[in-house]
């Protein structure tokens, strides 16, 4: 009985300790901002790693998600004689929800896990300690550019996802199912608001980009420096990022569209 209680207490303390270390790491990374701005090339390489290398999966997924939305939306809307509103359905669901959320989940799987494995392996092979030996702060030199790289890449990827998705929905709805071309675009423009929908979607994806890269970097930096520890940390990155993104999405949606 007492042992169970002790286990519970240990788990709780570990969770709180991890949370504290994550925030300390975040503070360290943010303090590295001026140093990073002096070396923009480091940031550029990370925008390449997170952004450019994720473009293919984001573009293809966006296209197919938009096409599926077009098919399913047409099926439901045509039953009410409202197939003209297909564009609104596809556009609103992409810009408000699916764009930011699916992009964040894909980036967590595609780039977040890679970040964790990279940092974890650097730690396991004592490259981070090596940097410290040379009086280079590994948090500022290695982690800060990665955090801001993710922060910059995510909203751009989400915008690409939404735009490609709207085109995919247009291709299925207008090209294959015979929705009127003019109605598709005019309904979208009439019903989707720039401030309320597009800007809120961009804000969401900035928050997700921040959270996903933060989790990935922390898991890598905090990993047990063995091959098993790195593999566990990579798994945790994907799971925690997905949970955090979905939970945060609910909170953000409630704040933005709740009233």
């Amino acid at each position: 009985m007492l042992e169970q209680l002790q286990l519970l207490g240990r788990g709780g303390l570990q969770a709180i300790g991890g949370l504290g270390r994550a925030h300390l790491l975040l503070a360290g990374m943010l303090l590295g901002l001026p140093q990073m701005l002096a070396r923009p090339r480091l940031l550029l390489a990370q925008v390449f790693n997170v952004g450019v290398l994720s473009m293919l999966i984001i573009g293809v997924s966006g296209l197919f998600v938009g096409m599926v939305l077009g098919l399913q939306g047409f099926y439901v809307l045509s039953q009410f004689g409202a197939a003209q509103s297909l564009g609104v359905m596809v556009g609103a669901s992409l810009v408000r929800e699916l764009g930011p959320v699916v992009t964040a989940l894909l980036v967590a799987g595609r780039a977040g896990s890679a970040l964790t494995a990279e940092i974890g392996l650097m730690k396991a092979t004592e490259q981070l300690s090596g940097l410290e030996m040379m009086a280079v702060d590994p948090v500022k030199r290695i982690l800060t550019p990665r955090l801001f790289g993710g922060l910059i890449a995510m909203p751009l990827l989400a915008a690409i996802f939404s735009a490609v998705g709207v085109l995919g929905g247009w291709f299925v709805g207008v090209g294959l199912l015979g929705v009127d071309d003019g109605a598709y675009w005019s309904q979208i423009q009439a019903k989707i608001d720039f401030d309320e929908d597009v800007v809120n979607g961009v804000i969401k994806s900035i928050v997700f980009g921040f959270v996903v890269t933060w989790i990935a970097l922390f898991q890598g930096y905090d990993a047990t420096p063995t091959s098993e520890g790195v593999s566990r940390a990579t798994t945790r990155t994907v799971v925690h990022s997905a949970l955090a993104v979905l939970a945060l999405d609910f909170v953000l949606t409630a704040l933005m569209f709740g009233n």
Partner: protein, 156 residues
């Protein structure tokens, strides 16, 4: 050196693609290009019932949108809804006896304010009140009235 150059080019292409996508969402997908009225002059109108009229609903004249509903408040003294309309600056020749109606686009569509110009030679200016208004049609009231008339007919 060739490698950094190609990375820079690819990152540049990625950022350009991202901004093009954002621009596409802004101009093609959202209503930003549809001329949201941000400046213009304000008119007031009192309605008995605004139905489901909302802030930012369109204000039209002859079917063309010339403004938006800025605010809807309840006026305590008269028990009426006070609707503030923002009309585009270029439409500055609405006669003082302009009529404001709340219409519904389509059977189940959204509601909007339709203006009917009168024949007066004076024009409405910023802060003026549109005197003649007609409330929103409430479907339940219409059905009730219809049933009432039917009942009156059959009892004759």
């Amino acid at each position: 050196m060739a490698r950094t150059r190609s990375i820079e080019i690819l990152v540049g292409a990625f950022m350009a693609a991202g901004f093009v996508a954002l621009f596409f969402l802004a101009m093609r997908v959202s209503n930003l290009s549809a001329g949201t009225v941000t400046d213009g002059y304000l008119l007031k109108a009192r309605f008995d019932n605004v139905g489901s009229l909302k802030e930012r609903s369109p204000v039209t004249l002859a079917g063309v949108r010339i403004g938006r509903v800025e605010a809807i408040t309840f006026e305590k003294a008269t028990y009426e809804a006070l609707v503030t309309l923002r009309i585009g600056r270029e439409y500055d020749n609405l006669p003082t006896d302009t009529f404001a109606n709340i219409f519904t686009s389509g059977l189940l569509g959204e509601q909007y304010v339709g203006l009917d110009p009168g024949g007066a030679t004076e024009f409405l200016r910023d802060g003026d009140t549109v005197g003649h208004t007609q409330s929103a049609l409430v479907l339940e009231q219409m059905i009730g009235q219809f049933l009432f008339n039917k009942a009156a007919e059959t009892s004759k």
